[in-house]
């Protein structure tokens, strides 16, 4: 891609901050979320969930529920096709359909408290809930296993009798809860450690945390008399929801339309389907639209948290601070079914540094928790908490400034990661330099019990498939249709790239997110990919329209289209010129509508690096941690709409603060979550955090015409390590377990004193 001309270009739209196109609907409450949607004749579905974390289902008797007045349908897993270990490719990854189906409604066994067992559709939600109580399920309780290291033991209760450990495709010979083992190795690791002047090895634990989206899962399904199924839902990816639903029901994708409603947060947790196929089968059974809305406890207990983890990191360095060896051992929860976040965890643990000799072992472990799902840079935060804490300790031991130590070892263009690939142009060093030059880093931190911490983080950012089309209106505006659910303001960031390409105002593009029949295939809004990949599609749409508009101008001027040039939305040839809007008014007389279209599939990562600085105060009596000041610094390639980039950086930082300080699933001995509500599962509120300052670093990404890198996920990676490092400087206590909540920190501080 010709990047050099774009890299230095002055933009008219990109880099500005127009009002978002969906802003008025959002602030007036007129935007249609899944819960707002209602069809005539809608009935309501509710799900019966397991009270046990691990049990065999001996029988399910739904007869009394079916006879209950107001009940229209009851379903169990017996109403679904039998899916035997079929692997379906979902674009952003693949899924074992038997596992996906058994997560939607349990087959034979329940594997976590809250696992869906049966569902009822009734005239209203209250009748549906009454009917759930009439369903008789006979369970044979089994011993649960929750902690990841316990689940790895040879004598651990097995969740799946047929699960064998896969070592990059090589299957183990006995049943195990370890579904996958990953191993990377480069250089001569043991030799390098033996020669290192300083070696530090530490162990870290992190609790399960939820994505914590405000909007619960919701879906309405209508299985029409003509056999067509339409689903209105809150999803990060309409096409993947369509495919999962079609696969689970064993019907063609063409028989399913998924309409993505506005979404109240997803963060990776709204990619897998939960309610959609259940609502569909209920609708097929009762012939009515069926709406299902989860309560908050169902969201916590029945949908994906991110993995709890155990990580051991060992680093070796010379006295001058050169990293010479690294070793990491990671075990992550997969939850009830295989396929957690261990792969990216292993690939990210040393991704910020050039370490010539390194070894990484990672384990994906099933245990009696909800099936883990992606959460903003999935797997990276746990790994960075460990690595960045050890880096900080290493800096202290060597007497080197923590930024200088990072700069000395920072990954850069040409660095080979431990998993193999070589980085193209990246901007990690630039984020460290920006941190070093920041007002925050240069300001003294005064007062007792206060400390400053710093940490860095990496996330790949992905490309994948996006489609878009746009039609030129006679008034000079353009209607853009795309398939990416708008979570972080991407309608506008995508529209701005089309506007820039066409040389018109952002306000003159009207973006719309279409359903699965209204736009070409588009992968999920995830992986920090939309502004990058759907933005690339919009750019290509712009080029297509520009080409057609030049032909129309040529027709008006009776010249060769190749002789028509376009600059900033003005078409010119031989002293004649016509602006885009004026030319748009002449489409009727020059051949009719102009519609641009594009489908793209950019390969590779756009590689996002961030560095965060935080000041904390630790109450010596209560161990409560107060965030005094926070600065997030990130290489974003090119900030299309800086306000939304800042918003992503701030949002990621705040989620990371919650993960660091308070959020955790608390389980009892029977593996039951004890805090499935927002009173007891403590997420940060506006009262808990200061303004998050942001510093945008722009290192042009040569793989995108406007230099864009993904933004959304990287900012959650660094916060827990940065805060742990700050707490150490404030209290003298190194915390190696998340969350660093007052009881846990108080215990650690007390232990240290004694």
């Amino acid at each position: 891609m010709a990047s050099s001309s774009f890299e230095k270009k002055k933009y008219k739209v990109i880099g500005t901050r127009p009002v978002r196109h969906d802003g008025a609907d959002k602030v007036t409450g007129r935007a249609i979320y899944g819960s707002d949607f209602r069809l005539t004749g809608t009935v309501h579905g509710k799900i019966l969930r397991s009270p046990h974390a691990h049990a065999r289902i001996k029988s399910i008797d739904t007869s009394a529920a079916e006879k209950h007045p107001g009940v229209l349908a009851v379903v169990t897993s017996g109403d679904f096709p039998n899916l035997k270990n079929k692997i379906a490719n979902l674009g952003e990854g693949s899924v074992n359909l038997a596992h996906l189906g058994a997560n939607v409604l349990a087959h034979g066994k329940v594997l976590y408290k809250g696992h869906a067992v049966a569902a009822v559709a009734a005239v209203n939600p209250h009748v549906a809930e009454e009917a759930l109580k009439l369903i008789q399920v006979q369970y044979e309780p089994l011993k649960p296993v929750v902690w990841v290291l316990d689940a790895m033991r040879d004598d651990a209760p097995l969740l799946h009798d047929d699960l064998r450990t896969s070592s990059m495709g090589k299957k183990g010979d006995k049943p195990s809860n370890i579904s996958a083992h990953i191993h990377f190795e480069t250089g001569k690791v043991d030799e390098a450690f033996a020669k290192a002047d300083v070696v530090i090895e530490r162990e870290f634990k992190t609790a399960s945390v939820h994505q914590g989206y405000i909007e619960p899962h919701v879906a309405t399904a209508l299985w029409n008399e003509d056999g067509h199924l339409t689903i209105w839902t809150s999803t990060q990816g309409a096409f993947t929801a369509r495919q999962q639903t079609a696969e689970l029901l064993q019907i063609p994708v063409s028989q399913v339309t998924v309409v993505p409603c506005e979404i109240g947060g997803g963060f990776g947790g709204k990619i897998a389907v939960y309610l959609e196929p259940v609502a569909a089968v209920l609708s097929r059974k009762c012939g009515r639209p069926v709406k299902m809305v989860m309560n908050r406890d169902e969201v916590f207990e029945g949908t994906g948290p991110t993995p709890g983890s155990f990580v051991r990191v060992k680093l070796g360095a010379t006295r001058s601070g050169q990293l010479v060896a690294g070793e990491a051992w990671l075990a992550y929860d997969a939850g009830a079914f295989p396929g957690g976040m261990i792969g990216p965890g292993c690939m990210c643990v040393f991704s910020c540094y050039e370490i010539p000799n390194a070894r990484v072992d990672g384990y994906d472990v099933v245990n009696n928790k909800p099936k883990t799902q992606a959460y903003r840079a999935p797997g990276a935060t746990q790994a960075a908490f460990a690595c960045e804490s050890v880096i900080d300790e290493l800096a202290e031991k060597l007497g080197i400034d923590p930024i200088e130590l990072r700069l000395k070892n920072a990954a850069k263009e040409g660095t080979r990661r431990v998993d193999g690939p070589v980085y193209p142009r990246i901007g990690f060093i630039e984020t460290l330099q920006a941190a070093q030059a920041s007002e925050h880093w240069k300001s003294p931190l005064v007062g007792p019990h206060r400390g400053r911490g710093i940490a860095s983080g990496y996330w790949f950012n992905i490309g994948l498939k996006s489609s878009a089309s746009a039609s030129v209106n006679p008034d000079g505006t353009v209607s853009l249709v795309e398939g990416s659910t708008d979570i972080g303001g991407t309608r506008t960031s995508v529209a701005m790239q089309l506007a820039e390409t066409l040389g018109i105002r952002a306000e003159d593009v009207r973006p719309q997110v279409a359903d699965t029949d209204g736009v070409g295939y588009t992968d999920v809004t995830g992986g920090s990919r939309v502004t990058f990949a759907t933005g690339l599609a919009a750019y290509e749409v712009g080029l297509d329209i520009q080409r057609q508009m030049a032909q129309r101008a040529a027709l008006l001027w009776e010249c060769d289209p190749a002789k028509v040039a376009c600059t900033d939305g003005v078409y010119k040839t031989n002293g004649k010129s016509i602006a885009f809007a004026e030319l748009a008014g002449k489409l009727g007389e020059t051949g009719g509508p102009v519609v641009g279209r594009a489908a793209v599939d950019p390969q590779g990562s756009s590689n996002g690096f961030g560095t965060h600085i935080v000041d904390v105060e630790v109450d010596p009596d209560t161990a409560k941690v107060t965030i005094l000041r926070y600065t997030a610094i990130q290489d974003v390639g090119k900030a299309i709409h800086p306000s939304y980039v800042e918003g992503q950086m701030q949002g990621g930082a705040v989620q990371g603060i919650g993960w660091a300080l308070n959020e955790e699933y608390v389980f009892d001995e029977q593996g039951r979550m004890q805090n499935p509500n927002y009173l007891d599962y403590r997420m940060p509120t506006a009262l808990d955090v200061p303004m998050i300052d942001t510093i945008i670093v722009e290192v042009f990404n040569p793989a995108h015409p406007y230099g864009v890198r993904g933004v959304g996920e990287t900012p959650i990676v660094a916060p827990p390590a940065a805060i742990a490092n700050a707490i150490y400087r404030a209290s003298g206590t190194r915390m190696r377990e998340l969350p660093m909540s007052p009881p846990r920190l108080w215990a650690a501080m007390t232990e240290k004193k004694s």
Binding site: G93, M168, K170, F184, P378, G420, F460, G526, S605
Partner: protein, 87 residues
């Protein structure tokens, strides 16, 4: 020739060899070349004629979504990695 890096966990099939040079214009040809030299390795790469679930292929630093049809250049660098998604 393309340089193919063998994951540490497949080196039981390669006698410890960590990388090989192979001719091929597509990943399919590269996998065939690997199988010819190290019998059994194709079963680690592919499942039912496609790249195995959970596996990703990086060609010249970019994860390819084109499976076995992915083009390979004469000096490409190929890695087999765990598949990743995003949040």
């Amino acid at each position: 020739m393309a340089k193919v890096y063998i994951p540490a966990q497949w080196r039981d099939l390669t006698g410890g060899t960590a990388d090989v040079q192979l001719d091929g214009h597509s990943l399919k040809q590269i996998v065939a070349g690997l199988e010819a030299r190290f019998p059994g390795i194709a079963a680690r790469v592919c499942d039912d004629g496609r790249i195995a679930a959970g596996l990703a292929v990086s060609i010249d630093g970019a994860i390819s979504s084109r499976g076995l049809l992915a083009p390979v250049e004469p000096h490409s660098e190929i890695h087999f990695l765990p598949a990743i998604g995003g949040g």
